[in-house]
Structures are given as C-alpha cells and as structure tokens.
C-alpha cells in the first residue's frame, strides 16, 4: 500500500545529514537508484529523508512488497496520487495502469517524488512496466527505486543522458559518529573504543547495529557485550538476533516466531498464532523500540517485519518448532478466510499443505478475483499447487478453464470445463451450487468468444431470472446474437442487460453491454451507434477503464463512423486507441471487426496492399469461431476485391472459388465477384454478378453493400460506354450514401474515374459528389490560402506530375513512376492545384486542359 507522508513510522530513526545532502542532489535527476543488500538501512534513510521535506514537496511512498500483486501496486500508486477511484477489471494490464499513472501525473505540474521501495520484488513483467514508466516520466516527476540488487531496467539512454543517480552500499554504511548517534537515540552510551569495535565488526551494516542496540539497551554490561560479539566469527545478523531474542520475555519470543509465517500481522492474528493475548500492545512496543517492526496504517493496527528480521525468525521457527508450522499456516488461513482476505487465505492454506482447502477456496473465489482483474495472482496461486494435487482436485480445472479462456486457448478451456463438470459431484454439497454456476458462466464466456449461438442459448437457460446472473446472461446472449447477425435481438438483449446492470449496480457489465450496443444498433443508424458507444466510453472513463479491452467494441464503432464518412484522421485516432486496448487472441469476433476497420482505413488512405493483409487477417479469425460471424462474408469479399484491384486476378479468383457455399452466395461476395470481372475487363459479366444484389434478391447487412454494387455497376457501364446507365447508377449510389454519409464505398470500389465523368449539372447530390472527390484526392476542401492567379507558370517537375493527373494512378503510383517520394508528389500536386486555382484533381485537369497544358 502507498502511504502519504504523514505516516512514515519514523520512531527511533536518526537523521543522516551526510546522506541527505547526497539524496537532495540525486533526486534532481529523473531516476535515483538505491541499490544495497538487505539490512543496509535503505528504507530508513528514505523515510527520514522524505519526512524532512514533508509539506515542501509532493512525495508518494510505495512498496512493491506491500501490494498483493502488480495490480495492487499501481492501484495504490494511483490512489496516492489523488486519482479518482480506479476500479480494477478482469482485463487489467500493468502497461495500461502505468499509462494511467502517467496521465495522472500530467494533471498537476508541481514537482513530485515517487519513491518505490523493495523494487527487487517486482516480477519480470512488472519491472518492464516500471522501466517504461520511468522512461516516459514527465519532467516534473522524479522516481526513487530502492532495491536489494541492481535491477535490469534497460534505461541506458537515461544513464547516458545523465538522468540517473545511484546510491550504493558503501555510501549507506554507518560511520563511527553515526553509530554513536544511533546508539544514543536508544539511550545507549558506549566508550569510543566500543563504538569503533561495534562499527568495525558490523562494517557499519545498519541492521546489525540496530539489532545490537536492541540487546545493548537491556544489557547490564554493554562493553562486555561488544567485546564478546567482536570475538565471535558468527554471522552478524544471526548472532545478534539470537542475543536479542534471548533478552525478550518468553511470550514476546513466541509471538515473533509464530507470526513470522505472515506477510503482515495484527494483534488479533498474533494472539491467535501465539496463543496469547495483548499482542497488539507488544507489537506497538516493538515498533516504538525500533525492533524491525513497522506499522502499515496510520491507526497502527497492521504491522510487518523487516525482511531480514522475518527471514531469520522463520528459520529459527523452522529449527525450533518444525512440527508446528503447518498448523500455524492453517490457522492463519482460516482467520484470513473468515475476514474475506481470499488471496492471503489461499496462500496460507497452500503453505500449510491444506491443498483441499486451498483448492476449494480458489474455486469459490474465482469469479470475484477474475472480475477484479487478479489474473496474474490466480495464475500464481494455481502454479503453487503441486502437479499431483492439481490432478486430484477437479475444481482447479475450473480455474484452468478461466485462465485459458482469457488467453484465447479455447480448446483447452473446453476440455477443462468438461473435467470440472464431470467431477462436480465430488464437491461438498454446500459448494456445489456455486460451482455449477461457475461452470455455466465460463461456458457462456467461452461460447461468446467463439460466436456459438446455440451453446449460449442453452447455457443461458441455466441462469436465473434476476440479479447479476441474469445481467451476465443478457450480456452474453446479446453479444453472441450480434456477431451472429441477429442484430434486432442483440439490440433488445443488450439494452435490457445495460438497464439491469444499472439497477443492480454492476457498472462493469453495463459498460460491456453499451460498448457492444453501439455495433448492434447500427441497424437503426450510425448516429445511434455512435451515441451508445460514446456513452459506453464516457462511463468507462469514469471508472478508469477507457483503455481496457471491454471498450474495444465501442472504440471500433467510434472509429468506423468517421471512416465511413471519409474522415480518416479522426477514424485513425479512435482506431489507435482500439488497437492499444485490444488483447490479441482472446476474442476472435472482436478481432475480426478490428482488422476490418483497420483495412477500411488503409483503403481510405489508398494503401491497398496493407488493406489486403488486414482483410485476410479478419477472415482468418473466423476459423477460431464456431458460428459464422456477421462480417465474415464481408471480410472475404473485401479481401477478394482488393486482390482484384491490385491486379492479383488469379489469387482473387482462387479466393472466390475457395469461399464456403453460403458465404459465396452472399451479396458482399457477389460484389467481389463483380470486381474481379471489372478488373478483368468483363463488364457484362460484372453486371450479371451484380444483378441479384441490385434487384434486391439477396439479404443485405447494410445499405453500404448496395452503394458498393451501384458503383461497381457504374464502372461496368462506363466500360460499355453506356453513359445514361452509368450516370443513373452513380445517382442511385449517391442517393443511398447521402443519409448515413457513406463516402467510403467510393474509395473501396475505385470509383474515381466514374465520378469524373458525371457532369455536375446532372446530379442532385453535387455537394456530396464534390466532397467524395476531395476525399478520393486526399484533400480537405479548399483552404490552403487563396489560389494563385491561374496560369502561374508550372515548373518542369510540376508539369511532369500534371501529366499523371488525368490517369487513375494514385499518388503513390505516380511517385513510383517518377522515382520520387509520395511527399514530393503531394507537394507538387498542392502547388499545381494552387497555381491552377483548382480544388481537386478533376478541376486541376479541367483547368490544365483549358490552359492547353494537357491534351484533351
């Protein structure tokens, strides 16, 4: 837990001015590393130093040791930084939490020091998040990392930039005068010789000196104590601990030894383990005596022991009462379990060898832990069971299944669920009901991620008609209906789910329902889809979930809407957030949508080869699902169409032939077939491909399929020199596109040439037509200053570029032809437009023809 600086447990510590000066200088750097062995006095130094400038500077003190896991660490840090409460979610990632802390740091630009103690306790992944965090720190923030050994942070660039300061063991060692001061603070006065001897024997090691002080303060002959100590070769800590324990009353000794099995202790728990009473007073007394006991909260109810001290006590316990240890762990487990500290309870049960109890507790607490995002902890608890025990305890199969589902290992998850179900009757009766619900919920989640409608419908029937289970049922049902293309049912169920979630106070489920409702409600309109998605995003933001995977569907809807309208830069911004929040592998239906939307962006930016990769990737997601995705046919169709446009006609025909039967007959894939025909120069065949789509004989997932078909037909009529039909097709496409602003299909179908042939006076949608042409030319509407007077002379290179403008070559094609970069072409095109007073490629060509710069 992170503590504010008002409570630092400073009893009995001395101010080490010589080191404070060093720290004052070091903290001006971005990172200060304090790296020294256990017991070197790192934490004490840090605490006294921080205490000195309390109030003068913002400081946050955290420890990797106090948090249950990485999530706990970041949450505590966020809370200490004054963030609004962040509620953990099942899809917690350390990287996203680090981002959130960075964002929080940007809120207030007063200088701040973040001290992170025990950084060596971070797991490898957590440490890499810390390293990124440090590298991205804003200038007003400084981090102090305290560790027992050097950390592999990969911050060499910071080191080279002089942004790293280091404090090491030699600097931390107590000098003679500091030794004297430390003893004096405990009321001990020794001769100069004895002080020197003590300092030399301990080599200025802080833990040794503090242990010595604890004995010296009660010893009748301190000088003799020092002499005897210096004559011994025993390891300093061990010698002094033995001496110190010997001088404690029996009940204190017992308390220290029996509670050494705990990460943290309070009076009640200590009473239980030491079979005594009044332990709280003993703990307070030990803290006051600076006896390696530190309170963790301002009320001083929870305490913990210094690592080294606890390690020695545990060894002593193991040596003196080996047969009591298992029992102590089990009693601690029961105490934690009764008070709802699930993770500590499970850990203690495991340490006590109570595998049965630990397994039941873990299965019982699984959903609570999952919904609070403790995935990593669940995995580590599961790993702590020996292999043989895991085979003996089918309830652990439930835990395996949960983790595997989240990692996208669906087959393994299904197998583990089968085992769990088969063995359910072995559970004690009182646990069976909850266990059964657990199996159903996991099956639902699995079926949802695989888009398996029948399985969801079957499982939903097992869940009740009210409360959180009903909300989960509606959520799962709605989502799987949505991916199955039953958008009306999906819309209804997700609305009900969102409403119920609100009534029962389950914001997490509400966000999921709303985030998906956006996509599901596209049948009504893009506007309502956007509205739902914005609500989902705002709600998620309120809980600090805006970069969690649960908002991905909302982000994709928010990215899709501007892409359809031809606003690619806005679409790209939302898409970037979606890509960042998406956890690859775990949710194929969502990932299919993600790749489609990325592909759409590439098409809009005229990067067809990149688009092909994305559409093909989208299509491949279908193979990980059990039911047909509503957009699977679209992914196939656009992949084929892009292949055709890239001139990969054989590949495109192969893909078309390989499309499974129902998909091949869909309107989307008919359009793709027409594209192949067009690109092969077979205009009549293209019109034949399109007939069923245009005449309304095939179901359409959305109007855009029809817009696309009309544009492809227009291209065919252009090839056949049938101008009236061509204009009529374009007009129908424009009319359909107007309502929802479906500009993107014009990019997808390569309709640029067709549009150039439509006389402006022949359309009722001239404004839209202009807008589309600008989009296709990669231009924002006129605005780069006033056009230069027409006829300003074009340079030789501009004239060369101009020659390509009447062709259908894209700017990158032109760049390739001229062996220059796309940026260069863009500059020339801008200059050409400006010199000709044109707003678009067509206008530029028209003006150039009038000026006889181009032949007709």
């Amino acid at each position: 837990m992170a503590v504010d600086t008002a409570h630092l447990g400073l009893r009995g510590l001395i101010d080490r001015e010589r080191l404070f000066d060093t720290l004052d200088q070091a903290v001006e750097k971005r990172v200060m590393l304090i790296s020294a062995p256990a017991g070197s006095g790192k934490t004490s130094l840090l605490r006294t130093w921080i205490d000195r400038f309390r109030g003068a500077r913002r400081v946050v003190f955290t420890s990797a040791r106090d948090a249950e896991d990485e999530q706990g660490f970041w949450l505590a840090l966020l809370a200490a930084l004054g963030s609004v409460e962040t509620v953990p979610t099942p899809t917690f990632t350390g990287a996203s939490m680090a981002e959130r802390v960075l964002a929080q740091l940007d809120e207030n630009h007063d200088p701040i020091v973040i001290a992170i103690d025990d950084a060596h306790e971070f797991a490898h992944d957590a440490l890499s998040h810390i390293a990124r965090f440090v590298a991205d720190l804003p200038a007003h923030a400084h981090v102090v990392l305290v560790s027992r050994h050097d950390l592999r942070l990969g911050i060499h660039h910071l080191r080279l930039a002089g942004e790293v300061a280091e404090i090491r063991a030699t600097q931390l060692g107590f000098t003679e005068s500091e030794t004297r001061e430390l003893l004096a603070s405990s009321g001990i006065t020794l001769s100069n010789d004895a002080v020197r001897t003590l300092q030399q024997r301990t080599e200025g090691w802080a833990a040794g000196l503090r242990l010595a002080a604890l004995s010296l303060v009660v010893d009748s002959d301190p000088e003799a104590f020092v002499a005897q100590f210096s004559g011994s070769h025993r390891v300093v800590a061990e010698y002094l601990l033995a001496e110190m324990l010997e001088r404690q009353p029996e009940h204190v000794q017992r308390l220290l030894l029996t509670t050494s099995i705990l990460e943290r202790v309070n009076g009640e728990l200590a009473d239980l383990l030491a079979e005594t009473s009044g332990s709280d007073r003993v703990l307070l007394g030990l803290e006051d005596a600076n006896a390696f006991v530190v309170s963790l909260d301002s009320e001083r109810t929870w305490f913990r022991y210094h690592h080294l001290f606890r390690e020695l006590l545990r060894l002593e316990l193991r040596r003196t009462m080996p047969d009591r240890i298992a029992d102590l762990h089990r009693r601690a487990a029961a105490w934690f379990a009764d008070r709802g500290y699930a993770i500590e309870a499970i850990r203690q049960a495991q340490a006590g060898g109570d595998w049965q109890g630990a397994a039941w507790m873990l299965a019982d607490q699984l959903f609570d832990l999952l919904i609070r995002g403790h995935n990593e902890t669940i995995a580590s608890l599961l790993d702590a069971f020996p292999r043989a025990v895991r085979l003996d305890h089918p309830e652990l199969a439930l835990v395996d299944a949960a983790l595997e589902t989240q990692q996208g290992r669906f087959e393994e998850a299904a197998q583990h669920l089968d085992i769990a179900e088969r063995e359910a009757q072995k559970m004690p009766e009182k646990l069976q009901a909850g266990y059964g619900v657990g199996i159903v919920i996991l099956r639902l989640g699995l079926a949802r991620r695989q888009g398996h409608l029948e399985s969801v419908i079957q499982q939903v029937n097992y869940l009740g008609t009210c409360g959180v289970l009903r909300a989960m049922a509606l959520m799962n049902l709605g989502i799987v209906e949505m991916w199955s293309g039953r958008l009306a049912d999906a819309d209804r169920h997700l609305r009900d789910g969102a409403e119920l979630s609100e009534q029962i106070g389950a914001p997490y489920l509400r966000v999921i329902c709303l985030a998906n409702l956006g996509f599901a409600s596209k049948i009504h309109s893009f506007a309502s889809a956007r509205e739902h998605s914005e609500r989902a995003f705002e709600l998620a933001r309120r809980y600090g979930w805006e970069s969690e995977t649960i908002v991905v569907p909302a982000l994709l809807t928010l990215a899709g809407a501007p892409l359809w309208a031809g606003d690619f830069s806005t679409g790209e911004k939302w898409l970037e957030r979606a890509v960042e929040a998406m956890k690859p592998g775990a949710n194929p239906p969502e990932e299919l949508l993600l790749h489609i939307v990325i592909g759409m962006l590439h098409v809009g930016r005229n990067r067809l080869a990149d688009a092909l990769v994305e559409f093909a990737e989208a299509e491949s997601m279908q193979s990980r699902m059990l039911g047909e995705h509503v957009l699977a046919a679209q992914a196939t169709a656009w992949a084929i169409a892009v292949q055709a446009r890239l001139g990969l006609l054989d590949d495109a025909r192969g893909s078309l032939a390989a499309a499974p039967a129902p998909r091949a007959a869909s309107a989307e894939v008919r359009n793709a077939a027409a594209m192949i025909s067009l690109e092969s120069g077979a205009a009549e065949a293209a019109l034949a491909d399109l007939r069923d789509v245009i005449e309304g004989r095939l179901p359409l997932i959305h109007d855009f399929v029809l817009v696309e078909a009309q544009l492809l037909a227009a291209r065919a009529y252009l090839m056949l020199d049938n101008e009236p039909e061509m204009i009529s097709s374009v007009e129908k496409a424009l009319a359909l596109a107007e309502r929802e602003r479906l500009l993107w299909p014009f990019a997808m179908t390569g309709a640029r040439e067709v549009l150039a042939k439509v006389p402006r006076h022949r359309t009722a949608h001239a404004a839209l037509l202009f807008e589309i042409v600008d989009m296709l030319d990669g231009l924002s509407p006129r605005g780069n200053g006033l056009p230069a007077p027409a006829g300003s002379e074009l340079s030789a290179t501009e004239l060369r570029v101009l020659r390509y403008l009447p062709t259908n070559l894209s700017r990158s094609d032109v760049a390739r032809e001229l062996y220059v970069s796309v940026n260069t072409v863009n500059t020339h095109v801008r200059n050409i437009y400006s010199k000709l007073g044109a707003a678009s490629r067509t206008e530029a060509v028209e003006r150039a023809r009038q000026l006889r710069l181009l032949a007709h």
């Binding site: 062995p37 256990a38 017991g39 027992r148 050994h149 090691w205 833990a207 011994s232 070769h233 025993r234 390891v235 300093v236 800590a237 061990e238 010698y239 601990l241 033995a242 690592h307 080294l308 390690e311 020695l312 060894l315 002593e316 193991r318 040596r319």
Partner: protein, 96 residues
C-alpha cells in the same frame, strides 16, 4: 551468470545433471542460518563458512543465492567441483 556446461562424449550439452557446488560466505553460520540451506553441508574455514552440496540444477543454485541475499550474507566464492574421490565422499554424506 552463465556457467560453463560440460559436453558429454557425443558432444551434447548436459545441462540438467545434478552438480556439486561449494559456496563460500563470510562468517560462521549457526544453526538458525543453516536452517536456510538444508541441502548443503557447512564447514568452517577461517572466518568463513563453506557450504557444499549437490544441486539438482541451476534453479536450485539460484535458489541458494537468493537465500544468501535474503539473509544479507556476504558471498565470497562459488565453485562447481569436478567429481573426484573426495567430493564423492561429500556427496555421499549429503545424500545419505
């Protein structure tokens, strides 16, 4: 730290065989500290202690090193012993 791996006769790397190690730390280890190293035998050599034992693999070795770190002991030397009659005797004592 990358430890040298011996080659077997046919040239394959043999990395998983248990190996005999001797680890020197500063100071004499008493009964409490020794409880941290149940798999090792301790001998006093001058002001130091030498812990000797057969370690299953590298994880076991790093486990010992972590324990040394946790106890704040000063590590002076680590050696992997080449099998010879004397160490065979030690390994017998360790495993018996």
């Amino acid at each position: 730290m990358r430890l040298h791996q011996p080659l077997t006769e046919n040239g394959a790397v043999r990395s998983h065989a248990p190996k005999l190690y001797s680890i020197r730390v500063k100071g004499h280890l008493g009964a409490t500290a020794l409880a941290a190293f149940p798999e090792m035998v301790s001998q006093q050599r001058g002001a130091d202690s030498i812990l000797t034992g057969i370690l299953l693999d590298r994880s076991a070795l790093f486990g010992i090193l972590t324990q040394i770190e946790a106890l704040g002991l000063e590590l002076i030397e680590i050696r992997r012993l080449v099998p010879n009659p004397e160490s065979a005797e030690i390994s017998k004592r360790v495993t018996s």
